[in-house]
């Protein structure tokens, strides 16, 4: 907080107690799994198998091959049935490759393990690319892109923050795979050419901090950094500013750092050790709209409906079914969307009535916006269809974190107004 700008962040009630200590439930795939053919909103993906082909867990079934390479793998063993268009967690109907599950889970290594210490940096980048390691931003950004050409990188920041309410999947995944975390971070440190890696964890997570610190005894160049429990601390810019007190224009590499998620490091470590890509995910299924909130371990491509059924079903008739956390996740109007390699939660909330009143002009949205925008001004300009002002107000910089709507005491959909303004700008550009 300064005199000129508000806090640009906010502590949120996390509801993490619902799922942070109970058992992780294993959910097996049903008769079919559906692998979404989407990468960074691109559907320009080449399918490598035909109807009737048999596949195993780990078989490469498709590949994006334009300016980036992203392989897709089967999460079960069985037979390719064909393609089907179903709703995806990004709230768009997309093509999915359907595989019939034979229930045997026979494995096939799509690539061989690698000794990261011996491998050259370039070999390691290729390995990361072929292993299909993607980030957790909801759209599956291929991680190797960040390491292709590192220049003047001094710090690698490993993001273990998990700032969305309700979600504990990353926390559980990290606590259960501390050794892989350390291995993955070491390998990424080598890739990044940075001198130091900082693992950022929220300060209230004392148990996890102690565990990671213990595992780092004797490891040089990797330290744990505690960060405050505020939203959106998990967003790159907020995190980088918290740790370095510096801002950047487009990419963190401008100020000498690379940011990666802790779970991405773990997936990378697993690939390095076992030669297997991400075929399963730990997901948090939580909220007051489900009978038994829990973390589940589930193959990629399983429909949400099956997971909910396994957990005992919905708690009420009318729910908001959110792909992701309640802040950034979108409500999906049916429960047919599937587990992706880049999602980590489904939040199910009771649908409650919202009584909104006129904008109080209190400026809370402006003070809290982590991107430093003026959401209420953008909303006003959008309502007045004042394009010049929308441009001036930089609506394009909105990350759709949802904080402006969260803080609005008049209960207005402030973020949605900004989103509309942003869309106007995008249309204008084309």
């Amino acid at each position: 907080m300064s005199i000129w700008i508000g806090a640009m962040q906010k502590h949120l009630e996390g509801h993490k107690g619902l799922t942070d200590h109970n058992e992780i439930v294993r959910v097996d795939a049903g008769k079919f799994v559906y692998i979404p053919l989407m990468s960074m909103f691109s559907t320009n993906i080449e399918v490598l198998v035909k109807e009737g082909d048999s596949v195993k867990v780990g078989t490469m079934i498709a590949k994006r091959n334009d300016h980036m390479t992203v392989p897709f793998f089967s999460s079960v063993s069985g037979k390719v049935v064909g393609k089907q268009t179903i709703m995806h967690a990004v709230l768009k109907p997309l093509e999915h490759l359907v595989i019939e599950n034979d229930g045997l889970y026979e494995k096939e290594q799509p690539f061989s393990p690698i000794d990261f210490e011996k491998a050259t940096r370039e070999e390691l980048v290729d390995f990361m690319m072929n292993a299909g390691i993607v980030g957790c931003g909801g759209a599956g950004f291929p991680t190797y892109m960040k390491y292709k050409n590192p220049q003047n990188i001094s710090t690698l920041i490993i993001n273990a923050v998990e700032c969305e309410p309700y979600i504990t999947a990353d926390y559980r995944e990290i606590s259960n795979n501390i050794d892989d975390l350390v291995l993955g971070v070491k390998a990424m440190l080598k890739l990044s050419t940075a001198k130091e890696a900082w693992i950022a964890i929220k300060s209230p997570k004392k148990e996890l901090i102690a565990k990671v610190r213990a595992a780092l005894v004797g490891v040089s160049g990797i330290v744990v950094k505690e960060v405050p429990d505020v939203y959106p601390m998990g967003w790159e810019r907020t995190l980088v500013y918290q740790l370095l007190k510096k801002r950047y224009d487009r990419l963190p590499s401008e100020i000498g750092c690379i940011v990666n998620n802790a779970t991405t490091a773990i997936a990378f470590a697993k690939a390095i050790r076992t030669g297997m890509p991400i075929v399963e995910k730990t997901l948090t299924i939580s909220g007051n709209g489900i009978k038994n909130p829990a973390n589940v371990n589930v193959p990629v491509g399983v429909k949400t409906a099956e997971i909910v059924a396994k957990l005992g079903g919905y708690a009420i008739e009318d729910v908001l079914l959110i792909a992701g956390g309640p802040m950034m996740g979108k409500t999906i109007p049916n429960d047919q969307f599937v587990v992706t390699p880049y999602g980590n939660a489904v939040t199910i909330l009771k649908t409650e009535k919202i009584d909104s009143v006129a904008c109080l002009r209190c400026g809370r949205c402006n003070d809290t916006c982590p991107a430093g925008l003026l959401p209420v001004r953008i909303n006003n300009a959008e309502q007045a269809a004042d394009l010049d002002t929308i441009v001036k107000l930089r609506a394009d910089q909105c990350i759709e974190c949802g904080l402006c709507t969260y803080v609005c005491p008049s209960k207005l959909d402030v973020a949605e107004g900004v989103r509309r303004a942003k869309r106007i700008l995008q249309l204008k550009k084309k």
Partner: protein, 497 residues
């Protein structure tokens, strides 16, 4: 199963506009409770009841205006009221007026505040001016002087220093001046008459802390507003060789602290960006000091709030943009505005001078309706002749007549009648002169009857003319009649000889 679709996020803070308004109401309630306690204990129950009546009047007018508006615009009354918060405006307005305000004046102010201050702009959230401030300004413009009832209090510190040209450079005069109000300390505590809710700075500041902690108001506004006034007043103090009392006096007088906490912070009428609110607050500080010392208006706070409300849209335009890229611009605006303020106030301070208090001249009075010496009015509560001395043709009578204090209970502990000396010429059969021996009615009102213009009317009145009459003093009817009653008693005593 129903899967409802809603735009994200689907998570919201507990804090609602309703709760903000509730906290604000509680804060204002505390201030009002203090005012009631003060008037009930330091004055009398009549003052306290008048304070209750004022609040009731304002609330009723505010609600009626809103209900009528909802009715004519075909809105659901309940939803409209819940989203319009009329009571906040009514309470703030009531706390801004002095106890002597008439119900009618406050009712008018409230209607203006709600209707012209808010509803005509399109309702809550759309208004440009703080409604309460607009209402108060309308009252000041329409009722200058006559907004008072018979209830009186002494002059406020702000009005008093305004008469002195907003400065006192003689140390002896300073102490004497401040002692009228029980010293600065007393002014901070609020134990002197002023606007109902504006006097106790200490209490308002306590409420301010509560409101800041509860995130109801932004700390920037009161902090920057008050600091600006403090710094600029210190500047005047230094350039004029006045002591530290001067900036403290500025802070403790008038509606500054009240306005800074309750009116300047009105989110609807101040900028929505943090940087904008900072500039807004500094602007308020500069204007308040300038209006006080230069325009010599006691209500500097009120007018500066209205002026800055008007500038809010421009400030918004100035701070628009991408905040994190604008920091430099914000800092430059802040620095330039502060510099402008310092230069202006410094320049103005060179033109200021101490105006020594003038001994008040005999107040001019106006005469109103006639009252007959032998009329029914004087027959009520007959006066008593307590002494009679005859010297030749002239009889001098001492008459005790119950005036306003006794008959209407002016709330003093032990009300006393007025005592008059009436001289009558028994040969010419006329009144020679009437004069006060003891005056016991209300200062500033009843004592207008001491004026020669009134008393001289009695000289030469025939004591045998049943229709003899004099004109009462406007605004002091009771006391005038009590004098007539004394004269009647004196005449009757002479005729009975």
């Amino acid at each position: 199963m129903k899967f409802t679709f809603r735009v994200s996020p689907n998570y919201r803070d507990q804090l609602s506009t309703g709760r903000i308004m509730r906290d604000l109401t509680i804060g204002l309630g505390v201030i009002y409770a203090f005012a009631l306690a003060y008037y009930f204990t330091q004055y009398s129950s009549n003052y306290g009841i008048h304070a209750l009546g004022l609040m009731a009047t304002s609330l009723i007018v505010a609600f009626l205006t809103e209900v009528a508006f909802a009715y004519f615009t075909k809105k659901k009354v309940k939803t409209h009221l819940l989203g319009s918060y009329p009571w906040v405006t009514a309470i703030i307005l009531t706390l801004m007026v002095p106890i002597a305000t008439s119900y009618f004046a406050l009712g008018f102010g409230t209607f203006f505040a709600i209707f012209f201050g808010k509803l005509v702009f399109g309702g809550f959230g759309q208004n440009i001016f703080n409604p309460a401030a607009a209402g108060r300004a309308a009252m000041l413009a329409s009722f200058a002087g006559v907004a008072v009832t018979d209830i009186t209090t002494s002059a406020t510190p702000t009005a008093s220093i305004a008469q002195l040209g907003w400065m006192i450079d003689k140390p002896e005069a300073v102490t004497k001046f401040l002692d009228q109000f029980g010293g600065l300390q007393n002014m901070f505590l609020g134990l002197y008459p002023g606007a109902l809710g504006e006097t106790s700075k200490v209490l308002i500041l306590v409420v301010m802390v509560f409101l800041i902690i509860r995130k109801v108001i932004d700390w920037r506004i009161p902090v920057f507003y008050l600091s600006t006034v403090f710094v600029l007043a210190s500047l005047i103090a230094v350039s004029k060789g006045m002591g530290f009392w001067y900036p403290l006096f500025h802070l403790s007088t008038g509606g500054l602290v009240f306005g800074a906490v309750f009116m300047a912070t009105d989110p609807v009428t101040n900028p929505t960006s943090a940087s904008g609110r900072t500039l807004f607050a500094i602007g308020l500080g500069i204007l308040t000091v300038l209006i006080r010392v230069k325009a010599n208006l006691p209500e500097g706070v009120l007018y500066s709030i209205l002026l800055m409300n008007m500038l809010t849209p421009s400030i918004e335009l100035l701070t628009d943009g991408w905040q994190i890229k604008n920091v430099k611009k914000y800092a430059i605006s802040f620095a330039s505005l502060s510099l402008i303020g310092i230069l202006l106030v410094f320049g103005v301070s060179t033109t200021m001078s101490y105006k020594a208090p003038v001994v008040p001249e005999e107040p001019t009075i106006t005469l109103g309706d006639p009252v007959g010496i032998f009329s029914d009015e004087t027959a009520l509560a007959p006066a008593t002749v307590t002494d009679k001395v005859t010297e030749g043709d002239i009889v001098t009578l001492t008459v005790s007549s119950k005036g306003y204090a006794v008959l209407q209970d002016d709330h003093s502990e032990d009300p006393q009648p007025n005592v008059l000396i009436v001289k009558i010429d028994t040969v010419k059969q006329e009144v020679v002169s009437v004069a006060y021996a003891t005056f016991s009615d209300t200062t500033n009102i009843g004592d207008k009857t001491k004026n020669a213009k009134f008393l001289d009317q009695f000289a030469g009145l025939s004591i045998v003319d049943e229709a003899a009459e004099v004109d009462v003093v406007s605004g002091a009817t009771y006391t005038s009649v009590s004098v007539a009653r004394a004269v009647r008693a004196a005449i009757e005593a002479v005729l009975a000889q």
